[in-house]
């Protein structure tokens, strides 16, 4: 099995004043693999996710390699990186309201992904967008595509983000707390949708969350991040049964029902 994504000794400094944001992080993700990144607030999860797409500020001191599709995402020219983003590697963010343009109809925002990657036919791009919104579970997608972000609920907005991320059938989806801002019932629907789309497409997924429940029901493998370091990287059932690192143990124990000792 070849690695789709390979992160090698990734180090992201914070300017020398405090501990590094990421410290010697190494891991690989294979085609079609679902990997969870579990960590508390401030553990470096979001920085890790952003670095995979080359979205971290240039001003941060960065060492190591993020190899995706055989190219180092940290070194490639911005244009080449943009060509990969959205097409081969995509991201879904936590807060769909801030991730969407408030002044553009959601259908047009999804269609723009196709346009940015070379689709010249505007009508065809829009048809593709509506179709993808429909597959992302947006009811009445044809009408809803004409709405602005603020006219949709949080769950609907997250479906729009998913449609944008999945439109071009990427090989890897990076999802950063995709359901943390949602109601539990909506969270369950969006997670189910993520799992279904991931399976249908054989897409690899890196799911970032502080919530073990979200990760354990979605990912076959889990990495635990603590103070910028990967302190545990193991099959999810193994983590649930016998977390080794104290931080991993704390995160598991926080959601373990009473009477289920490790």
């Amino acid at each position: 099995m070849t690695a789709l994504l390979s992160v090698e000794r990734l180090h992201i400094g914070s300017g020398g004043r405090s501990a590094p944001i990421l410290d010697d992080v190494s891991f690989a993700v294979s085609d079609g693999e679902t990997v969870g990144v579990l960590g508390a607030s401030g553990s470096g999860k979001t920085s890790l996710a952003l670095s995979l797409l080359g979205l971290l500020p240039q001003s941060l001191e960065t060492r190591g390699r993020v190899v995706f599709d055989g190219y180092n995402m940290l070194e490639r020219a911005a244009g080449a990186r943009r060509n990969l983003r959205g097409r081969r590697i995509s991201m879904v963010f936590q807060e769909p309201l801030t991730a969407l343009n408030p002044r553009q109809r959601v259908g047009a925002q999804v269609a723009e992904v196709a346009r940015a990657h070379g689709e010249r036919d505007a009508q065809k791009a829009m048809r593709g967008a509506v179709d993808m919104l429909h597959r992302a579970g947006l009811t009445d997608a044809g009408t809803r595509a004409l709405r602005y972000p603020h006219e949709l609920s949080g769950g609907e907005r997250q479906r729009v983000l998913l449609a944008m991320a999945l439109l071009l059938d990427p090989a890897l989806l990076v999802a950063d707390e995709p359901t943390s801002a949602l109601d539990v019932t909506v969270q369950a629907q969006v997670l189910q949708l993520l799992r279904t789309l991931q399976r249908e497409r054989g897409m690899a997924m890196l799911l970032v969350s502080h919530d073990l429940g979200v990760i354990a029901t979605t990912c076959s493998r889990t990495m635990v991040l603590h103070d910028g370091r990967v302190v545990e990287d193991t099959a999810t059932p193994q983590l649930l049964a016998a977390p080794e690192h104290p931080q991993a143990r704390a995160l598991v124990d926080a959601v373990r029902p009473a009477g289920r000792g490790a």
Binding site: A40, S41, S153, T185, A188, D211, L212, A216, A250, A254
Partner: protein, 254 residues
């Protein structure tokens, strides 16, 4: 023993909305219990909490607190009610004044209710900060210097400063990550035991209330559709709304 809080046929309406936010809700909360109110966004739980505290005016119904008709209170009696019933909101970033020092935030209620003079007031603030797991020296710092969990501890200290008997915790741990959430829930349980507090715990996530609540009421479209002891609601939910909330909890394959 009579209930600390009695709510009868309470209705909350907002002028612009077609449906009632709270549509004829009745329940009692006994002294010392943790009564959880759960439901999806828009089910009316926050409106209900606010109506009980008289932060919004109900269109109809009755609220009795320790035997007194809350909706009829005026003057000193209303001030006393506002001291005895406190609230902690979801987002401590928004509910703490960014330009006030923590010590002043915590002691504002003490001053408003003229409970203590300056030196003993300062001592009370120091004790409160320590009681919620912060340090007395934190009084001179500003809210932005604290993490989300610490800010929620400040909000709890502020609520406790006026020696309340009843706390409305409106999604008080929803914005916190699981580890911090657990710590704040532990703190709330500890404070409840020490101070004989009664909690109305509002949450959209059933998983959060399982460990803390004695009883759970499920709200749906402005009504309470089910109310049961916590273990009973979790083992045998009767209403579709409760079943949906339970089904939404990610089932970890232990």
């Amino acid at each position: 023993m009579t209930a600390l809080l009695e709510v009868r046929d309470l209705v909350v309406e907002y002028p612009a909305a077609a449906a009632r936010a709270v549509d004829g809700v009745s329940f009692d909360i006994e002294r010392g219990e943790t009564f959880a109110l759960v439901g999806e966004s828009g089910s009316g739980k926050t409106s209900l909490g606010r109506a009980i505290l008289r932060l919004v005016a109900p269109a109809a119904g009755r609220v009795h607190f320790d035997g007194a008709d809350v909706l009829a209170l005026t003057g000193d009696a209303l001030r006393q009610f506002r001291r005895r019933a406190q609230v902690v909101f979801q987002d401590p970033k928004a509910s703490l004044d960014p330009r006030m020092r923590v010590g002043d935030i915590v002691r504002e209620g003490i001053d408003i209710h003229a409970l203590l003079q300056r030196p003993s007031g300062d001592l009370r603030v120091a004790h409160l900060l320590e009681e919620v797991g912060l340090s007395a020296s934190d009084a001179s710092r500003f809210p932005h210097e604290f993490s989300g969990g610490e800010r929620q501890r400040i909000a709890i200290a502020r609520a406790l400063a006026v020696e309340p008997e009843f706390l409305v915790l409106d999604e008080a741990v929803s914005a916190l990550d699981v580890l911090v959430r657990q710590q704040v829930l532990d703190l709330l349980a500890e404070l409840q035991a020490r101070r004989a507090l009664t909690y109305l715990f509002i949450a959209h996530d059933l998983a959060v209330v399982e460990r803390i609540a004695t009883r759970v009421a499920v709200m749906h479209q402005g009504r309470i559709v089910e109310c049961a002891p916590t273990h009973q609601l979790f083992s045998a939910p009767a209403s579709p709304a409760a079943q949906a909330l339970l089904a939404a909890i990610p089932r970890i394959p232990w």
